[in-house]
C-alpha cells in the first residue's frame, strides 16, 4: 500500500510520540527504583550506629561506676577480686546451677532402606549449632552439651564418625542443657530447624526430645592460653 505524504508524516509523528513516552516511562521507573535502594542502605547503617552507641554508653557507665568505687577508696584487692569473679562467671569458668531445658538428640535406630537418604537418620553437627544459636538468642545464660560447657572458643565440628566439641570426641546421644528462663528457651526453639528435626523424628526415627528441668548443674569451661592475641593498649 502506498502512503500519502500526509499520512506518512502523521505516522512519523505518532512514532516519535510513542518513542518519547516510552523513554520517559523508563526514566521514571529508573528514578523510583534508585531512590528506594539509597534509602534501604541508609537505614541499616543508622540502626547499626544507634545500637552501637547504646552498647558503648552502657559500657562507659559500667567503667564510670567502677572508677567511682576506686575514687571512694574501696578496698582495692576486694574490688579486683570481685571483678575477677564476675569475669569468671561471664567467661563460663565457673560451674553454674539453675532451671533448664534439656534437649536430647539421637541417631535413628532404624537403617535406611532402598532410596532413603542415610543422612536423614543421623544427628549432624549443624543441628547442634542451630540449637545453640536458638538458645543463645532466647536468652540462655549457660549451655553445655554432653558435659562440655559451651564457651567463646567451643567448636562443634564433624570429624566423620564423631563430633569434636572442645577438642573432645562426642558421640550420640547429644544431651544439651541450657539454663535460663525455660519458657523463653522453649519458645526460642520453635524455629525452622527444630520443626525439620521433628519431621525427621516421625519419618526416620531420630530422637528429638525437649524436657524442662527444675535444676541442672552445668560444669565450668576450660580456659585457654593466648599465644597470639595481645590486649590492645588502652588509650590508643
Amino acid at each position: 500500500m502506498k502512503l500519502q505524504n500526509k499520512e506518512r508524516s502523521l505516522l512519523g509523528l505518532a512514532s516519535i510520540l510513542v518513542g518519547f513516552l516510552f523513554v520517559i516511562l523508563l526514566k521514571a521507573q529508573g528514578t523510583v527504583g534508585s531512590q528506594l535502594t539509597r534509602q534501604e542502605t541508609a537505614l541499616p547503617s543508622l540502626i547499626q550506629t544507634e545500637q552501637e552507641n547504646q552498647q558503648i554508653s552502657e559500657d562507659n557507665e559500667k567503667i564510670q561506676q567502677e572508677l567511682v568505687k576506686y575514687a571512694e577508696g574501696q578496698n582495692a584487692s576486694a574490688l579486683a577480686n570481685q571483678q575477677l569473679q564476675e569475669a569468671q562467671m561471664n567467661a563460663g569458668a565457673v560451674a553454674v546451677t539453675g532451671p533448664a531445658v534439656r534437649i536430647t538428640l539421637d541417631d535413628s535406630k532404624r537403617v535406611a532402606i532402598g532410596q532413603e537418604d542415610p543422612n536423614n537418620f543421623l544427628i549432624h553437627e549443624q543441628y547442634i549449632r542451630e540449637i545453640f544459636n536458638a538458645l543463645w538468642n532466647g536468652g540462655a545464660e549457660a549451655i553445655a552439651v554432653n558435659g562440655q560447657r559451651v564457651t567463646t572458643n567451643t567448636e562443634v565440628f564433624c570429624a566423620g564418625s564423631y563430633i569434636q566439641i572442645n577438642g573432645t570426641r562426642q558421640m550420640p546421644p547429644y544431651v544439651i542443657d541450657a539454663i535460663g528462663d525455660t519458657n523463653n528457651l522453649s519458645a526460642a526453639l520453635k524455629f525452622y530447624g527444630w520443626d525439620k528435626l521433628g519431621d525427621f523424628q516421625q519419618q526416620y526415627g531420630i530422637t528429638r526430645k525437649l524436657d524442662v528441668l527444675p535444676e541442672v548443674i552445668i560444669p565450668a569451661g576450660k580456659l585457654r592460653d593466648y599465644r597470639y592475641a595481645e590486649p590492645v593498649k588502652e588509650g590508643t
Partner: protein, 233 residues
C-alpha cells in the same frame, strides 16, 4: 485525493484514543514520580542528618570509652592491685571478649553481591565459617566489627538483615562481609582455604584471605545471670 479513506477511520480513531489514554496516564505517572522524588529526597536528607548526628555521637562515645579505660588502668595501678591478679583478669576478659585484642591472624573478605552468586551469605553460613575458625584454633574472632563470644547469636531479621550480638552487621558500602581471626596464621589459612573457601566459591561468591595483623574489638554487650547461680567449689 485529499479526502480520508473511510476504511481508515475506525483504526485511526482507536489508535488516537489509545494514544490519548497513554498520554494522560503518562502525565499522571510523571506527577506522582516527581512528588515521590521530592518526598524521598526530603526523607533522605532527614535520614542523612540523623545518621551524621549518630555517627558523631559514636565517635564521641568511643573517645570517652578509651579515656575511661585509661583512667581505670591508672586507678588500678595507683592502688597497687596485685599484678598477677590483674594478668589473670586480663586473660579472663579476653576470654569473655570484653578486652579488645590484636595479633597475627587472617582477614577474610566475602562478597556475595556479584551476579554469579547463587545465594547471599546466610546466618547459617556465617555460623559455619566461624565454627571452622574456632576448629582451626582461633583465639579471637569478629565479623564486621562484632566480637564473637560464647553467647553470640547470629540471626536473620526481616529479609536480609543479619543480626550478630543483636546488632545489624549489613554494610551499605565496601565488601559486605569481613571476618577477622587471631591465631596461628598457617593453620587458620590452611583450614579456611581448604574447608570453607571452595564451597563459597562454588556458589559464585568472591572470597579473599589475607595474612595480617588484625585488631578485634571488644564485645560491647552484657552478660546477665538471673537464673544461673555459681556452684560453690
Amino acid at each position: 485525493m485529499h479526502h480520508w479513506k473511510r476504511s481508515l477511520a475506525l483504526p485511526v480513531t482507536l489508535v488516537a484514543i489509545a494514544l490519548g489514554f497513554m498520554i494522560s496516564l503518562q502525565a499522571q505517572t510523571q506527577k506522582n514520580v516527581s512528588a515521590a522524588e521530592q518526598i524521598s529526597a526530603e526523607r533522605m536528607g532527614q535520614m542523612k542528618s540523623v545518621l551524621t548526628n549518630s555517627q558523631a555521637q559514636n565517635t564521641r562515645l568511643q573517645e570517652e570509652h578509651q579515656f575511661l579505660l585509661k583512667q581505670l588502668d591508672e586507678a588500678r595501678k595507683k592502688v597497687g592491685t596485685d599484678p598477677q591478679l590483674l594478668a589473670q583478669l586480663k586473660q579472663l576478659q579476653i576470654f569473655e571478649g570484653t578486652q579488645a585484642v590484636e595479633g597475627p591472624g587472617i582477614q577474610i573478605s566475602i562478597d556475595d553481591r556479584n551476579k554469579k552468586a547463587l545465594y547471599p551469605l546466610s546466618p547459617d553460613d556465617i555460623a559455619r565459617l566461624i565454627n571452622t575458625l574456632k576448629f582451626a584454633g582461633a583465639e579471637a574472632i569478629s565479623i564486621n566489627g562484632q566480637r564473637i563470644v560464647s553467647t553470640t547469636a547470629i540471626v536473620l531479621s526481616g529479609n536480609s538483615t543479619i543480626l550478630v550480638n543483636t546488632i545489624p552487621i549489613n554494610r551499605s558500602e565496601g565488601v559486605p562481609y569481613e571476618l577477622d581471626a587471631i591465631g596461628n596464621q598457617d593453620t587458620l589459612l590452611d583450614y579456611f582455604s581448604k574447608l570453607e573457601a571452595p564451597g563459597l566459591k562454588k556458589y559464585g561468591l568472591t572470597v579473599s584471605i589475607t595474612r595480617k595483623t588484625v585488631l578485634i574489638p571488644s564485645y560491647k554487650g552484657t552478660y546477665t545471670f538471673v537464673h544461673a547461680n555459681p556452684v560453690p567449689a
